[in-house]
Symmetry: C2
Subunit: 686 residues, 2 copies
């Protein structure tokens, strides 16, 4: 048995043992793709298992994340902090080997994969990040940023629209250091790919501007023959020689090779069980043994020493770079460490009471103020003039194939790909990625934005045209429920600022929360800077903006965004009619929820009914309010004023409703909604 | 001026007047694409303006829906129920000409477009529907189903992943009667398409299996030259001659042709304003006149008489068909009318108390029972064996290129395209479309499922693996917030049945609600059929399942799905400890919300605290409950039992929490949450 073969069969054996012990998981892909992993980790990738965060490492993404038994096996044999005991806890609660790769759990895992199409799209962001940083920081004879991004992916990822979007951009940007190995195994869960996937994949990728290579090696359909990795090594070499295009190497493989049910969908997602013995025999392994890695295999893969050397060499390069370019080095090191620019908060604008702008314009002011932050890389899904994310004060230039040092990203009309690419930038490190579209089209990107939140990636989602207030474009463009989706998403802060100061707070919060993405919702229409608003108060998520008609409120109105100023007008009317009402502005419910109980009870005092007013669906407002004036259906196409009037968001209607609420609750018990029992809570690693 | 030219320039003039009068909208696309519309409505499409729902009409989809001034102009001049006064109310509240096309508002509009990528994907569903019905109902010499689907789309739609997914399927299925005219104008909102979209689009479509034609006519860059529609007529003829592949005709156009700022993004999305006069002159029109259509132009386009003849001819064909094939004709006519099969409810399964199945298995039973409904066409995004949507009792066969009469659809791993295609099937008429995936990946399809709801399309979303209960696959696959997203979406019913009877109710409700899509959430894990559950009660959305420990409950526990049976166990424990607790099962909050107040107050009696228990995020439960035992973060990878224990969903924890809640509220006022003031509500056409 050749060394290649022994190593590959050992990894296969370990992978299927991992799945078997868990009695859950996917053996088919590890059996089929072990040769890819073997070549990548043995001969191709540069990495240091003891310093998994080494900045100039090659990035590896297992896009078909269900095959992660293979990834855990490789991390174990190459020397990462993943013991054989860890491998034996695959898919058990709180183990280092969860059912799909989780970047915040396992050293050596770059991104969370499993949701198909995301990994390859994240990889586009990883490769983009490298290209940009290399362009910004490398100097002649100082190639301090120089790494590749490798992906293994299957049919599933290539059918997903998000991958199409990101791949088109990868071709457009000419990401020559991105290499995808496509596991063309002809099998999906339903059966043969002929059932639903008969397109010419490599032709499509060529249309995107990729370089493609197809490998079909005789013998690869059996366990032994598939250890003939020479053609793959050659293909990788050829792919790396093409530096102006991303590369795809399509390899005809056999899912579950070695197993009696190889080549069938039955080997995809269930432990081998009674087929284990036959499989081990076909692999040339001893069926009596499990979790068995012989010393020579460990010796082959162990990359601890070699990795350490790589890191030391790079540190030496960095030391020279630091001598020659101290400012650049300091900046890069700050970015790598995730620190913020000195005095960054001082750059934000301040506003006089009564300033009139759309919150998207206040947002533009903030983006301009942050224009000099080199880590701010992002853009819009072809809505720069509407989202107001176009390059302004920063003169950052476009990130394009020929100008990779540019920081403004033209994502095209590809919301899902955009968000997934931003996740890749966040995963790469050194970035504060942001992306923008109309808020309603956050719904196109939800698959990726959820992964920002789960993965703890600080991505800024700048979402303008945040409600029915956009007017004429009508209900196809008017979000009413999207805000609820974002608020319900764990570890995603959802901001809807009422004015300029709250907008500043939203950006400051989004930037400071290093492990939480934020969705910043901004208006198309103008609102005044409000008497009583402040950055400091807004950073508490919710606060008493003002009280009208005395100091003993009979009603609290809680509101957000563009509706707050209308509620203030209503309160002024009510005060004139002898009612006392206080206005709570609540730009971020998640951050308000995190305040202590005493503060929350001070904002919503005992015994006073609360009415929520927001031009979004009511769901969730019942947490803070006894009644709601919210959207109960979709919006409508029409000028802003007529639309707001139709749905009740005018001072007249709000004041009339307020009177109704005050009289309804007069003499009735009013539960203090902030004062419930402390309930059982368990949170998974967040 | 030729007749073609006069007609085209008149339509252009009318379109830009429509936008100008609204002082809002998009003139660039109508100017550029008017020749397409002219040829389609004059020479190509079969339709009857006075019978816009005629079943065998050709379908037209304006995928770049922002250009709808052109569509409204065409509907007006050809004789649809859309007067010049209607045109003048473009983008005004409650007009027939909303800011983007709305199928439920305007006769002649097939689908809601505007959200890019959806229209072309809906068109795949429309063409699929035709192909299927033709295969099922046509007989030799009786071609009663024979129509085409025409699409105009721009760069935006072709960049979106949803269009990639649907287009790949269109090629796979060989939808020869689908024809897309691609408005290749080189401009998006950000500027030249070179900024972000440099792929070879026709090559990509060829890779999908499409037939493509490229037209670049000298002179098309000016107002007059672009009226030379001969090459387009020829291309359409050539495209229609290819019957085994969908066709794309790419036409190099000039956005805003005729306007001084033609060819620039500034002509895309703002009224012409001061450029109006010059534009009208360039078009050869009198700038003094607005909304001006001369009699000969009306005469050219007027299709009322010709359309009536077409319908009469078809009716005659149908009469012959009915004589020859009375059973088929009756069935087809029932489907066209949207009626349900006779005695359809009787086909559903019944269950004994204690039957143990996963709700996805109860769902499978229902799907099998409905297997004989010929209008049930749908499938899964490559998860047939997990979603349990595989062909069963119905023996419906696969819908494939060679077997278009099959009813089971292999969508591949394309959730967003799948949902958009189902919208197309619903829009076509004659179908009860359904689609399936893991519930968490509903997030990939949200852009399309929102349009099911807005468009009032009865699409069934069969979503299995509905919570952390899926166990080992972990948080990347465990929905915790998706249910909240769906509940917050107007006109979408979200079901989470607790057992077999509630599952039957969910299907019955989904089928009976002709203008509302439903999301049916099913479990991977087994649950018993519960004592006290019934189809009838479940159809009220929420009901008292059982009361334990007496008949004067101290606490109401409201729960859904797989948590209900755990709550029952908890209540039994509590009863043993001398507490009286009632259990409310709430499989569909939206339907419960629609019940009358008296019923709701009977389910949640005054003065009794309510605790909600659900393995989803808490948002929205505050509407019904004073406190919640819900998910406060993401789930975790592990065996079901350990995961449920970690997050508190066990009889022990629920009973302990219940005791805590009872003692917390003892002696405190408890607001009756169902008894608030009646608030202002306005709903737009729903």
């Amino acid at each position: 048995m050749s060394s290649d073969e022994k190593c590959i069969q050992t990894v296969r054996g370990l992978s299927v043992d991992i799945v078997q012990k868990a009695n859950s998981g996917h053996p088919g892909m590890p059996l089929g793709c072990a040769p890819f992993a073997h070549v990548l980790w043995s001969d191709v990738m540069k990495y240091s298992p003891t310093e998994p965060q080494w900045f100039d490492r090659d990035r590896f993404v297992l896009s078909n994340g269900h095959g992660c038994a293979l990834l855990y096996a490789m991390l174990h044999v190459t020397g990462y902090d993943l013991s054989m005991d860890d491998c034996k806890l695959f898919r058990q609660l709180d183990s280092k080997c969860p059912g799909h790769p989780e970047s915040f759990v396992t050293a050596g895992v770059e991104v969370c994969t499993g949701p198909l199409g995301q990994g390859i799209s994240n990889a586009v962001g990883l490769a983009m990040g490298e290209k940009h940083l290399a362009a910004v920081y490398n100097k002649p004879d100082h190639e301090i940023i120089d790494h590749c991004t490798y992906v293994i992916c299957g049919d599933g990822c290539l059918q997903e629209g998000v991958a199409s979007e990101a791949s088109s951009l990868a071709g457009h940007w000419g990401l020559g250091k991105l290499l995808v190995i496509y596991d063309d195994n002809h099998i999906t869960i339903d059966g043969d790919t002929n059932l639903s996937f008969t397109e010419d994949v490599t032709k499509r990728y060529e249309a995107y501007g990729w370089h493609t290579i197809t490998i079909e090696v005789p013998g690869w359909e059996d366990a032994k023959g598939s250890c003939n990795v020479g053609p793959l090594r050659e293909a990788i070499k050829a792919a790396k020689a093409v530096t102006d295009k991303p590369s795809m190497i399509k390899v005809r493989t056999m899912i579950g090779v070695g197993a009696p049910n190889a080549g069938s969908h039955s080997v995809h997602g269930a432990p081998l069980g009674k087929n284990m013995e036959a499989t081990k025999k076909a692999l040339g392994l001893n069926p009596e043994k499990t979790f068995d890695v012989e010393d020579d295999v460990y010796a082959h893969y162990d990359n601890k020493a070699a990795g350490k050397t790589l890191v030391e060499e790079w540190n030496a390069k960095m030391a020279k770079y630091t001598s020659a370019f101290p400012a650049e080095s300091a900046e890069l090191n700050r970015r790598i460490a995730g620190g913020l620019p000195t005095d960054w908060k001082e750059k934000f604008p301040t506003y006089e009471d009564g300033t009139q702008k759309a919150t998207r314009q206040y947002s533009q002011d903030c983006l301009k103020a942050m224009g000099g932050f080199p880590e701010m890389v992002g853009g819009s899904a072809d809505l720069a003039p509407s989202n107001l994310t176009e390059p302004g004060g920063g003169d950052s230039g476009d990130f394009q194939k020929g100008t990779p040092s540019g920081r403004y990203v033209r994502f095209g009309i590809r919301e899902h790909g955009m968000a997934a690419i931003c996740n890749g930038l966040a995963a790469h490190g050194g970035f504060l990625p942001y992306c923008a579209t109309f808020f309603n089209f956050m719904g196109y990107a939800l698959g990726a934005s959820r992964l920002s939140a789960l993965s703890r990636f600080r991505v800024l989602y700048i979402m303008t045209h945040d409600s029915i207030g956009l007017g004429e474009d009508g209900p196809t463009h008017q979000p009413v429920e999207m805000g609820i989706s974002m608020r319900a998403m764990p570890n995603m802060n959802t901001w809807r600022p009422a004015d300029g100061r709250e907008t500043v707070a939203s950006y400051q919060s989004a930037i400071e929360n290093m492990h939480t993405p934020s969705t910043l919702c901004f208006s198309r229409q103008k609102v005044p800077c409000l008497v009583g608003s402040s950055v400091e108060n807004a950073l508490k998520g919710g606060y008493v903006l003002s009280t009208h008609g005395g100091d003993k409120p009979e009603l609290v109105i809680v509101s957000t965004g563009t509706e707050v100023c209308i509620c203030v007008e209503a309160a002024v009317k009510l005060a004139a009619a002898g009612k006392c009402v206080s206005i709570v502005s609540m730009p971020c419910t998640e951050i308000f929820d995190a305040q202590d109980k005493a503060y929350k009870m001070s904002v919503f005092p005992a015994g006073i009914p609360v009415m929520a007013v927001e031009a979004w669906a009511a769901h969730g407002w019942e947490r803070y309010s006894h009644t709601q004036l919210c959207m109960r259906g979709y919006g409508a196409s029409g000028p802003l004023k007529s639309v707001y009037e139709k749905f009740g968001f005018t001072p007249d209607i709000i004041s009339a409703e307020s009177e109704k609420v005050i009289s309804f609750y007069k003499g009735k018990p009013v539960t203090h909604l902030m004062d419930g029992p402390d309930m059982f809570q368990a949170v998974y690693k967040h």
